[in-house]
């Protein structure tokens, strides 16, 4: 027949098939398996994890290697829930935390222009998340079209798991479904040993003998807080406070540099660290100042002015834990503040809020309470009426949501009141014309501070670049600028930070095992068909030959 005397057939009749039988599996076994080449990689940010006063907060675990499921479709602790932030409620979150394996949350696409209701829901959710210890790894990812596609795909394919009509339908579903494996291969988060909380101080000395002059301290903490350290930009809380403090430093250094306007007041500027962790920076600094061997200016301070979240609105609230006595410098300053707001800047309102220190609570409400505890006259200026406002600890607190004109207005009022009090004026404007509050300077500081996450654990290493640049800015205007570092006690630390704040997630699209079975079957059938065609090729050939010869006969 056709192939009988053919060499090609000889090729396959010899030993080659047997060689192939051995060679192919060997080739397959030694083929390099490359698990890293995933088609999807996203940067993800881990939820906060820290211990404060021996109480653990946030998420306690970091590596993930689980199958992705939607909020409605997960079942066991072998599933990683992947969802959008807007699709998850507080109750669902609590349930996931106790029973699921991990949680990956995609942030909304436009975090800057959400409507109010959505913002409120998100901040409530953030609060719920930070309320309790979470045993599963929780990660946040920024919005991206690829991730959106995966989230949609997951919610489509697994929502019908239980509702499939028949067994065959369920089987077909599981065969055609796209599975995703979420792999975040980080080490387990461990406590960090090299924690150094920097506190930067500088001062402007008054005219005369320094020790005999009254002193004012202006304090703002520079860290931020949010549900994920790498996502907490803290533009308003407390980027606005730092901007205001630096602007005050600039204005008063101008005044103090000329002998004519050199006031008889010392002003201490302090940027304290770890403010969101119960004002650790202030606490340590105060201990150093008061309990140290040398006498310190702060012991006889007229008042301590803390700045916290000063750009939310044109309202200024003076938070005090004990109303200052009439005639005391603090009371005078508050009076000036109200007077200026009333007469010079009618758009700004100033109110006093009185709240007693509650030592039973885990954290202090405002920074001034740190000083009030040590019986120093202190108060906090803020645009927020309550310390419980969720914007103080939210990832929504980004630069785009802060109006710099509010900040400028508030700065003018505060600077004016301070100047009046220091120079003992009763009317008129000090900062006007060339020596005025510069909105551009405030804006550039705010922009700079809000470009990077400033969570306390991210700034905790020694000579952090942000801390250094803040120090440089202060030494441009102030004297005796220095950084003091605070390290938590080794044995009984007041606070503990953990590493692994960000990671890379690999999303592999995988198929269920049953799909492999189906595919193998289909390939076997295909190969069988091809074999049959080759085997029966002589028949096909003769058929073609016959057709041609019949055609030829007909044409003849």
């Amino acid at each position: 027949m056709w192939f009988e005397a053919d060499e090609i057939v000889e090729l396959f009749r010899g030993y080659i098939p047997y060689y192939l039988l051995i060679a192919l599996p060997i080739f397959i076994i030694i083929s390099p398996v490359n698990p890293v080449g995933a088609s999807h990689e996203f940067p993800v940010y881990r939820m906060q994890q820290y211990d404060l006063h021996g109480v653990s907060h946030g998420c306690r675990s970091s590596p993930v290697n689980l199958e992705a499921r939607s909020v409605g479709g997960w079942g066991t602790s072998r599933h990683c829930v992947v969802t959008c932030l807007e699709d998850i409620t507080s109750d669902q979150f609590r349930e996931i935390c106790t029973k699921a394996g991990a949680l990956l949350i995609m942030l909304p696409r436009h975090i800057t222009n959400l409507h109010e209701e959505m913002k409120k829901r998100m901040m409530d959710l953030e609060e719920t998340m930070m309320l309790q210890e979470v045993s599963i790894p929780v990660y946040f990812a920024e919005w991206s079209p690829d991730l959106q596609y995966i989230v949609d795909d997951i919610s489509r394919s697994f929502v019908s798991d239980d509702r499939a009509g028949s067994a065959t339908e369920a089987l077909m579903n599981s065969v055609s479904a796209n599975g995703y494996q979420i792999v975040i291969s980080t080490s387990q988060a461990t406590a960090r040993a090299d924690v150094n909380i920097a506190t930067i101080q500088g001062k402007l000395s008054g005219y005369g003998v320094e020790e005999k002059l009254p002193t004012i301290a202006i304090v703002a903490y520079y860290d931020s807080f949010g549900v994920a350290p790498e996502l907490s930009f803290g533009a308003d809380s407390n980027g606005s406070g730092i901007s205001l403090l630096l602007e005050l430093a600039r204005l008063f250094s101008h005044l103090y540099s000329s002998p004519k306007s050199h006031a008889r007041y010392n002003i201490i500027f302090l940027l304290s660290g770890a403010g969101k962790l119960n004002y650790q920076g202030s606490k340590k600094w105060l201990e150093d100042q008061l309990d140290g061997l040398d006498s310190s200016l702060i012991q006889d301070a007229s008042y301590i002015l803390c700045l916290d979240t000063v750009a939310t609105s044109k309202n200024l609230y003076v938070h005090v834990s004990k109303p200052p006595r009439d005639g005391s410098p603090g009371a005078l300053f508050i009076k000036e503040l109200k007077d200026i707001a009333e007469h010079l800047y009618p758009s700004v309102t100033v109110d006093t809020v009185h709240k007693k220190i509650n030592l039973a609570e885990e954290v202090l409400a405002w920074e001034h309470e740190r000083y009030s505890i040590r019986r120093l006259p202190a108060f906090t200026l803020s645009s927020l009426k309550s310390h419980k406002d969720s914007i103080r600890a939210s990832i929504l607190d980004v630069r785009e949501n802060v109006d710099v004109t509010h900040l400028a207005e508030n700065t003018r009022v505060i600077a004016e009141a301070l100047a009046r009090h220091i120079f003992n004026l009763t009317s008129g404007e000090v900062f006007s014309g060339t020596l005025g509050v510069e909105i551009d300077s405030l804006r550039s500081w705010l922009d700079f501070l809000a470009t990077q996450p400033r969570s306390a654990e991210l700034l905790a290493e020694k000579s952090n670049s942000l801390v250094i640049s803040l120090k440089d800015a202060m030494s441009r205007y102030l004297k005796e600028v220095k950084i003091t570092y605070q390290t938590p006690d080794k044995r009984d630390p007041e606070f503990v930070f953990y590493d692994v704040t960000s990671a890379i997630v690999n999303v592999y699209s995988v198929k269920p095992a049953i799909f492999d079975l189906f595919l193998t079957f289909a390939i076997a059938v295909y190969l069988g068909l091809v074999y049959l065609v080759i085997q029966n090729f002589p028949t096909i050939y003769t058929t073609v030959c016959k057709i041609i010869s019949s055609k030829k006969v007909r044409s003849q």
Partner: protein
């Protein structure tokens, strides 16, 4: 060098017998070496008629023969691709026109024209490798396709297909390899038909047209995909149908011609 000549007139019979055996072994190895080194191949006729080989050995020999021919075809394939690359690199400098939307039809057409060199390569294979009847065309086609797959697809499959992630692209590539096997055999047949002087003159334009269709297949497919914005599966299906049509037509022409020259 026949063994009969080497029998020395002097010396004992035993010595002579030993010599004959030695010569036979030398001749045998020369035959093998001829195969391995690709030198002018000696058929069994050149060997001493005094020594018959067993049936087993003949099978081994012919097996290596076909295999070797396929490898040779592969070598010529590699050479052809090298030439093509040289031409492409010389005359078609890579323009990183990423901002350019759509296809540069003239440029693509000229690039596809370089693929005509493949036909030259196949012609070389068919002329250079001895063989008779159907085996000649099949050897050239299979060797060519084998080299093509080894050089373009093998690495991709070997490195990628065992990844943790399932991707349909590997299944598609495998299907595509099967299609191109048929395509290469078809092209080899067409080139062989075209090279025959005893081919019916009326068939020559058809064969030439089909050769051109084979060469510009990739370009045509690309235009089709661009025009209809179809997915990879549709493109694969269209490619399969296109190749099948070409293959069946070629088979008809080939069968008719083979009958007329008496190859069955």
């Amino acid at each position: 060098m026949s063994v009969a000549q080497t029998v020395a007139p002097t010396g004992s019979v035993r010595e002579a017998l030993g010599r004959i055996q030695k010569e036979a072994v030398v001749a045998y190895w020369r035959y093998y070496a001829g195969i391995y080194l690709g030198g002018p191949r000696k058929t069994k006729k050149h060997l001493s008629p005094n020594f018959a080989f067993s049936e087993d050995e003949t099978i081994v020999l012919s097996e290596y023969g076909t295999f070797w021919k396929c490898v040779q075809a592969g070598g010529i394939y590699a050479f052809t691709q090298l030439c093509k690359m040289l031409i492409l690199a010389t005359f078609f400098p890579a323009n990183d026109g990423s901002g350019q939307e759509g296809m540069d039809f003239v440029g693509e057409f000229l690039k596809a024209t370089v693929d005509l060199a493949d036909l030259g390569g196949l012609y070389l294979v068919l002329m250079g490798i001895p063989g008779k009847g159907h085996a000649k065309v099949l050897t050239a086609g299979v060797g060519w396709a084998g080299a093509d797959i080894l050089l373009t697809r093998f690495l991709l499959l070997w490195l990628g297909a065992r990844g943790a992630e399932f991707d349909w692209v590997y299944i598609q590539k495998s299907f595509d390899s099967n299609i191109s096997l048929v395509q290469h055999i078809t092209t080899a047949t067409l080139v062989w038909l075209w090279s025959r002087h005893d081919l019916n003159r009326s068939l020559l334009p058809i064969v030439t047209a089909m050769l051109l269709l084979c060469t510009y297949k990739i370009l045509l497919m690309e235009i089709f995909v661009q025009a209809t914005v179809s997915g990879p599966w549709v493109a694969l299906l269209v490619r399969a149908i296109y190749t099948l049509c070409l293959g069946v037509t070629t088979l008809q022409i080939y069968a008719g011609f083979a009958q007329s020259i008496g190859v069955y």
